[in-house]
Amino acid sequence: MTESVISCHNVSKIFGPNPAQHLANLKADPSLTQAGYVHAVREVNLEIRRGEMLVVMGLSGSGKSTLVRCLSRLIEITGGTVTVEGRDIATLSEPDLIDLRRRKMGMVFQSFGLLPHRSVLENVAFPLEMRGQDRATRYSRAREMLELVGLKGREDYFPRELSGGQQQRVGIARSLAVEPDIWFLDEPFSALDPLIRREMQDEFLRLKGMMNKTIVFITHDFDEALRLADRIAIMKDGRIEQCDTPDKIVLHPATDYVAKFTSEIDRARVVHIGSLVRPLTAPPSGEPVPAHRTIRDLARQLISDPRVEIPVINAQGAVIGSVLRQAALDVLLGDAQ
């Protein structure tokens, strides 16, 4: 579970006429700003573990898209190293890189990136076609994928004949057609209406539950991040301000920026009982609460429970400690810390 699939070490990306030179200048004078240069990603260090879902979030222009493109080398990085499954991707030859993308990676884009002249079926079969699979195999696989995302019967449609949500389903089906281990999603639902967005998030959680993939999901919507993430990385001006579980981010923001970001959030929805657990001081008494529930889930019980200390059990039913009722109520009523 802790093996890391992608790791970034001091990754920087600078847009401009001579990025390498600019990076060297920056080393000498870190506060340097120069017209014509955009420092989109700054000194990012990140470990992404196998099977985890990392949500990268930040305001628009904070460098999220650039960072995720560095991970698949759609953009060449200016400084640092990106390692995917132990290999430094900057050193891969073009055929190796193509092979890596063909076998290991899938990506979903904000404005879908579908090929307008191809039908839905041909779009989904596109990655398989690139791999040189024969027509019958790739079409049957593409049909399977379309059925999975709920677009059965639309195989012969063209992208412009579909709604935004349907187009993004095609994008998702295409990115999954090659059964990638690593799945990148760059603001996949931002272009959709709020109602459809909600529906697509549910759909996404369903798909996620069916497979075991390493996922990097980008969004500028904190609610979306909280709904989906195992861990959240918050970016600002190209830097990662904090990368942690949602509970830790709301309970212990690392910087003022993160604190401001999370201040509007209803913490009780985010914080799990598990993150308030402390060692037992006395033997457990009475009905325990499960660690994976949020405070909001158990609000009713917490308010009426007379105990000072409530025992907590994990998914297997074993007692792992206790939570102080007062601490939980503090989170619930919004005056923790």
């Binding site: 759609l74 092979d99 899938g106 990136g113 090929l115 596109f126 791999r131 004949e161 994008g171 295409r174």
Partner: protein, 643 residues
Amino acid sequence: MERDARFAGTAKLLLALAVGLMVFKAILPQGMIRPPEWLVLPFADWINVVFSFLQNDLGLMAVTRAFSAVVEWLLNVTANLLYGKSRWPNLGPIPWSVIAVTAFMAGYALKGWRLGLISGGTFVWIALMGQWKWAMETLSVIVVAAPFSVILGLVLAVLAWRSPRFERVLNPILSIAQSLPHFAYMIPVVVFIGVGPKAGAIVTIIFSVPPMIRMTLLGLKKVPEEVIEAAKMSGATRWQLLTRARIPTARSEILIGVNQVIMQCLAMVVLASFIGMPGLGQKLLQLLQSLKIGLSVEIGITIILLAVTLDRLTKAWALRQPMHEAASPSWITRNRLLLIWLTLCAIGFGLAHVFPYFLEVERRQALSVAGPVDALMDHLIRLITPVTLWLRWFLITWVLIPMRDAYLWLPFTAVLVLLAALGWAIGGLRSALICVAYFGLIAASGWWDRAMITVYMVCISVLIAAILAIPLALWGARNPERAGRILLICDTAQTFPSFIYLIPVIMLFGVNDVAVVAAVVVFAAVPLVRYTIEGLRNVPPEMIEAANMSGATQAQLLWHVRLPLALPTMLVGANQSVMFSLFMVIIAAFIGTQDLGQEMQRALSSTDVGKGLVLGFAVAFMGLLTDHLITRWSETRKRALGI
């Protein structure tokens, strides 16, 4: 603003200097009135040296001969298929009825009944009027030349897209190429290839490549980045990326490029009659020269119909969006159009076999509208002769001759300073230098007087065109439906080959200066009308509402809101208008003018490449100068308006 004020100061100074030069013309030395001997450089000789080197020493002749052999072979194949020239594969001619049915089905499949009837009807008209052979001679060249241009354009555009350095080199070349008049292309081709259909096809190929490159490049650049990234993440190699993602996604622009190639081909192939290209153009030229109005009207209609058909078909193809077919199990329903087409073709072949009339309409069976047209025209002309005679007299004595004399009277130094003043006022030092450089080169070419006549013809024509076009456009734009109709007419008129415009003016005015000016005026008015209406129509409604709320009258609204906002678009029209008139003045030269065009025709008949290209460049520089000034001006206006 401060910068503008400084520009205005210097410009006024230059203007004063120019006026001074004119006022004191009497005491100016001769060398300041006309370009002196030492300034005139023998460009023509230099070009001839280069060409003879290319031709003789570099063995380019062998290459061009080889290429033209390929083209000739293809021309023979199409000639056999289309009008039965006895060459391999000796299958033709395809009956006209089959071609007409095919055109109908193409139109129907692309857009529906109306387009089907237009395109099918065109070929029926051509056949029934007994013009089949000429039209097919013309068409066979297009069929061969257009694919060459398209492929050449695609390859060059892809290269330019991949290498920004190549694009930087290519761009100015394309700009010059697109402002060189048609004849400038013909002369080198005649030198390398000779005259005839082969030369006509090759000059057509070269002439129609630039718009293809421009459109393809535009399309390739417009492909959304995410589409490319998605293809990359799907594991596409560079080649797959280009052929399966980028080029197909740029489909619409590329097909608009194909449309432009075909229209350019048609325009050129009609003009290539000057270098012995048989077909509709040649017939038209002969008929016009012998003033057979009725018959030339017939040919003119054919050319117009062909232009409209080719334009509409290719545009419909370009704008066609892919659509899913309702799932249908049977092969017959899925391919019904193909089956109908095959059936109709079979019927056509059958009919042609039994009744030769459906194979080829012979000359004596052909219909003709020449008689009635001639009678009608005679009548009409008798009716309006007093008017045209008076108009001719008035224009020649009171407008054309005085203007021409005035332009010729100007000392060349005064013209250069005047242009510098104009350039400075619009774009500062850089523009002033560009203006002086272009016209300085024209002065140094030794064709000053001829060039001034061309300038005068263009100026007077565009002026008259503007006087006619702008009120028309203002009137048209008042009512959206009317505006739509006028735009449709303008769009259609722009697809006609320029040669067509000569028919009515020769009909009305005979063969003289007035006819040339009239043709140019009509040709130049079309883009002016079109862009003025576009500009007025696209004024944001909020602005008009805001002005209405502040109580502006209709006239105030027009002067203070709509016209200023429409100006940048109108300037695009003015730019095209000048370009079109330059081309038209040169083409109309065979009617008899004394400008650069006439000299170019002489260079063409004596196959003097050097002279021809020098003249061509002189015309191109006039076009590029106007283009530079108008573009700069329109940019500053746009910036000032914040759009």
